[in-house]
Symmetry: C3
Subunit: 350 residues, 3 copies
């Protein structure tokens, strides 16, 4: 993982000024960079750093005019920030996918298959009849139950738990401690006041390009053959609760600690902020945006709304009402005064 300045410039379609043979092994901020590292200069207020940086190379704009001597090699590009982002991404891929092979001891059951260029960390567990694609990274303490199916280019971080029958698409990342397929919370009240467990026999299905945060939980569907479904491109943050039979629509983004109750269907391109709660058996329209800590108790039928409150209504109206809420003691006082006045004037008038 070492490149010359010239190699990096070629990767970015940029031109080199200075020492193109200097070797780079790490990315850094311009104010912190050390020899062997590459930084970028985009915001003019950081310009001073370029004259003192220890970086071996700095990515700059094609129209950058140095006012003093610069020691670092320069790579001239159209947009230094987006070029640096490209490097970040390449670096990220390199480190994410560099683990390969099987560490001992790890466990794999009968009839299970793992594709090529994969990693299985020590103490990872794969049950029976599991099918896993190529380029899948299974970190230590991951549990993959019987009959699970996983696509290509998937990362299961340490301690991800997939109950039997879970299905995962391609290019998904599941963070540490995420649980998929735990029992839905279904209990039938009995006459003696106890509750009988309703067997939860469905599974969880995750489509392609999904990210699932640390310690997030997704319950299985109730019925055999049904799935709790996370559609293509969905991003779920940490510590989220997704109950049984929920469906989350394409490219919807949900922030941490939000909870979706059973059988609710969230539309596409929705944005749910943190700590939102949504009741069961609802349908939320596409492009709905829900503010932090809001609670939804009825279906949202009109697309593209921005909602807040418990229960939710339009976010701007919420803030208008809340502004008055903060003055309620004053309002109450004024109402009382007015009542006195009117009552007095009535007496006077009588």
């Amino acid at each position: 993982m070492e490149f010359t300045v010239r190699q990096i410039a070629a990767m970015l379609g940029g031109d080199v000024h200075g020492n193109g043979d200097a070797t780079i092994n790490m990315l850094a901020k311009i104010q912190d960079a050390q020899p062997g590292q590459i930084a970028f200069l985009s915001n003019p207020k950081y310009e001073n750093f370029i004259y003192s940086t220890q970086a071996s190379a700095v990515i700059v704009s094609r129209d950058f005019q140095p006012k003093k001597d610069v020691q670092a090699a320069l790579i001239l590009v159209d947009n230094p920030y987006s070029s640096f982002t490209v490097l970040l991404e390449e670096y990220h891929k390199l480190i994410s996918y560099q683990k390969t092979g099987v560490e001992d001891p790890s466990y794999i059951g009968k009839g299970s298959e793992v594709g090529k260029n994969s990693y299985r960390g020590a103490f990872s567990y794969i049950g029976n009849n599991v099918k896993i694609g190529d380029n899948v990274k299974i970190y230590p303490h991951v549990f993959v139950g019987d009959n699970v199916v996983i696509g290509n280019n998937v990362i299961l971080h340490p301690n991800v738990k997939l109950y039997a029958g879970t299905r995962i698409g391609n290019n998904c990342v599941l963070h540490a401690g995420a649980v998929l397929g735990s029992d839905g919370f279904g209990f039938a009240p009995q006459e003696d006041g106890t509750y009988k467990t309703i067997p939860q026999l469905g599974n969880v299905m995750i489509e392609d390009d999904v990210v699932i945060g640390a310690n997030t939980v997704i319950d299985c569907a109730t019925f055999y053959g049904d799935s709790t479904i996370i559609r293509k491109g969905v991003k779920l943050d940490n510590l989220i609760q997704i109950a049984h039979n929920v469906e989350v629509g394409k490219n919807t983004v949900i922030a941490a600690q939000t909870g979706i109750s059973g059988s609710t269907k969230i539309g596409e391109h929705c944005m749910l902020a943190g700590q939102v709660g949504i009741a069961g058996h609802l349908v939320i329209a596409n492009n709905t945006s829900v503010g932090a800590q809001a609670g939804i108790s009825k279906s949202v039928k009109e697309e593209g709304q921005q909602l807040l409150g418990y229960p939710v209504f339009d976010i701007k109206e919420y803030f208008r009402s809340y502004a008055v809420f903060k003055r309620l003691p004053d309002l109450q006082y004024r109402l009382r005064e007015l009542e006195k006045k009117v009552s007095q004037s009535a007496e006077v008038g009588s």
Copy 2:
């Protein structure tokens, strides 16, 4: 796990019309069923499916009168839905309890005993002086600390963590990542602004027939000899926080992401919805029902109330107040108009 239609009919006390020798190995919905599967017909709006289903058998009501030819064998019962539920439960038991034996490598400490017909998955860990009953299923990556006691017919899903001294009754199910016995959150403020940890030396005690959701946390009691207690029949959903010295009464049901602060005692047959918060050192009366995201800061003394808001009050009154809250800007405007009028009429009158 394959039965004839006749065997299933006998199990349900039903009568067979058609091929009683057909073999069944799976349950399915009538619209999806394949050969070898059994479905049910309860809701008349699904009746059309019975004439086209691929199912080998369908459970129907004794008074069902087919309008066309039915290929599937029929099992006639009094209540098709509840008969199907019986099958679901039997199936669920079969798959839940089919794992037995010990997978390698697993760890068991000194002086520990595990009853018969048990399962210990690979990478499961059992400490010293642990007593585990019969028919207990310990999935991979489960941690059972020293001196833990577990009854019969318990399922510990992957990665359940039981700190030293935890006690679990019979017929309990703990889902993946549940933590029992972590330190209560107790710190004594010091004069220099730091906090000193108050040692947490009690344990967690779970009675019979309790279900605990994935990634839920139950802290141990503070004092040696005391317990945080979950009574018989309680059902806890995922990602719940139960603090030190809490007691949850019999047959209470708590939905996901709710948090109970230290030393609070929840009554029997309560229902707490999701994301509810309850302050510490309170007593909540039996049969209390708390709506989602509500916050309780004082004890609830009267039984059978339905509560909402922060802090909570009667749920119907909450909704009435909230209806006015949404109109507060209008109320404020009307009050201002009235003030003007009254002020003018006072001027006119003067």
Copy 3:
């Protein structure tokens, strides 16, 4: 772990009445204590128990005057409660730090070092180039990623997960299932409606004397070289979400299920109650106190405030407004009545 009454008295600076040679192996409450155990009497309403207790010794105040015979040996001290707390702490240290050695199988990568007097439980995983100090307890199923650095006297309870590059100071306790270093939740919206993952290349840095609760998640910083920082003496409860690039100031205490969004900086000596939510990119002043379930959407600049509501304002004002909120239907009714009166009197007057 057995001491004579005389040894314990010496430890506490107390005087012995009765059998100083009796041996003590456990702490207990006076009403529950058994032979071999030591209890304390502080609250006079428990005095009766001292005449019947089975305890081998009881810690009492120097001015305690028994009204009947006492079987137990007495240790006379100035403050029985605080003396007992000292014993609790000693006991706690003993049991917390008694595990040593390496259980099989456990995994340790290349170039990693573990200090003396440490414990590595079975199925614990330590990656490459990890530096771990002295007296560190690593319980089963802990994952320590590559290049992690850990100080002295640290306890990692079962299943703690430290992503690569995490740094932990001295005297820290991390509870079961805590995740440090998972990816920050950062996605760049694309023109086609999908989201592209922004690589998260920073780490998590925990200073000395920090406690982190079970299943709490702390995301890594976005930029390489940046850290999400938890300062010295911070105490975090269970199931908390700390997003990327957050900094939590010295000696701040945060209760369960609270969430802090990305890049927010929490001051020193703050107290956040449970289920609080704080938006991203804010600065919260020192000594801020936030009530349960509150939501903060703007920076808090003035120190020492007590806040509640969503969005938050002064807690006393919140309760005053909320008191009126509960009477809003009545207020609305009174306003309507007043409007009628004024309108009538206007008509009368015209």
